[in-house]
Subunit: 174 residues, 2 copies
DNA sequence: TATTGTTATACTCTATAACTATA
DNA sequence: TATAGTTATAGAGTATAACAATA
């Protein structure tokens, strides 16, 4: 074969349909790129990108149970145990006893955890700017907005026990 | 079930920032949902969603080598062997000898393979309509277009690094 | 000696099940 | 009996290395 291995044939999907037109392909490429970059940015955070999600979600509201947290993020409860072990050892979260149920633990973010969240958020914003580098500012806003709406709907399908999550949050807030 | 599935917890990120605002979270949710749905839709296709990508890419142009195909789709060459084994056994692709290099095999899609592509594409379109269900027609077009542009750039970064490797090897060999 | 494709091995996740302490 | 959290085990998926044929 003549010519470079990967090269100028990148995007000539004019005649026959090709993979660049595929929604699944595009999602996979963007998702893998984002994961790779965020793993680099968050390499010194216990749990990496998923640890960041746990940290931000746990800090976004009043302390809630491990299982609630796991369901909100679609993380298996056995995995949540390991993630929280590492985050707690790093002093970023605390497991507190639930006064209403001695089996359960409430997850609270420490001051150090909140400081770390801010630090990581700044780093991520710079990284995201690079990933969305081909879009103008208004296009980035539009893309974020549309993606968020698709995600909200997908998440409502994904979380089978959304009702339980709602009940849990309402119970804790009263 | 004690209440509506999609409820009031959907979006109250007004005060503190929460995970729904996170680009990584949204990408992950949408990607997982898409993978799950497409695995169901393509369950009877060897290799599932990845087999579909191999099939469409191999069929989009003249037959090319396994390694080229693998690099274009960011699939490990050892995995490509298994995928092609299954696709060939199902009669969807053929391994042809490369007249210019007896080590290499050119991957050609059979007529049955092309028919299968069309069938699967129709199924996928219906599924994608559900995943993007919350958007209007024009919003879906906008989302696809923006996502594709982000993906093309992200892919060029991956490909670029691959080219760097090639260039590096060529530089060292001269 | 380097490269294509294959095969075999090791490692990393994740899912599953079992166990405790509570309810 | 069922549930929250933990621990242990098994499976799937992936990466790594070794191999044969060819360049």
């Amino acid at each position: 074969m003549s010519g470079p291995l990967v090269g100028p044939e990148a995007a000539d999907c004019t005649a026959a349909p090709c993979v660049e037109d595929d929604l699944g392909w595009a999602l996979g490429v963007v998702f893998r790129r984002y994961v790779k970059e965020s793993e680099a940015v968050l390499s010194d955070l216990p749990g990496g990108p998923r640890g960041y999600q746990v940290l931000t979600t746990a800090g976004s509201d009043a302390p809630r149970r491990q299982l609630t947290l796991a369901q909100q993020l679609s993380i298996d409860r056995t995995v949540m145990t390991y993630l929280l072990d590492d985050l707690e050892e790093a002093g970023l979260v605390e497991r507190q006893p639930d006064p209403t149920d001695r089996r359960a633990r409430l997850i609270a973010v420490t001051d150090a955890g909140r400081a770390r969240i801010e630090e990581m958020r700044d780093r991520l914003q710079g990284m995201e700017g690079q990933v969305l580098g081909g879009l103008t500012d208004s296009e980035r806003d539009a893309f974020r907005s549309l993606l968020q709406r698709v995600a909200m709907q997908a998440d409502s399908v994904e979380v089978q026990s959304a009702c339980d999550v709602v009940d849990e949050l309402q119970r804790l807030s009263t």
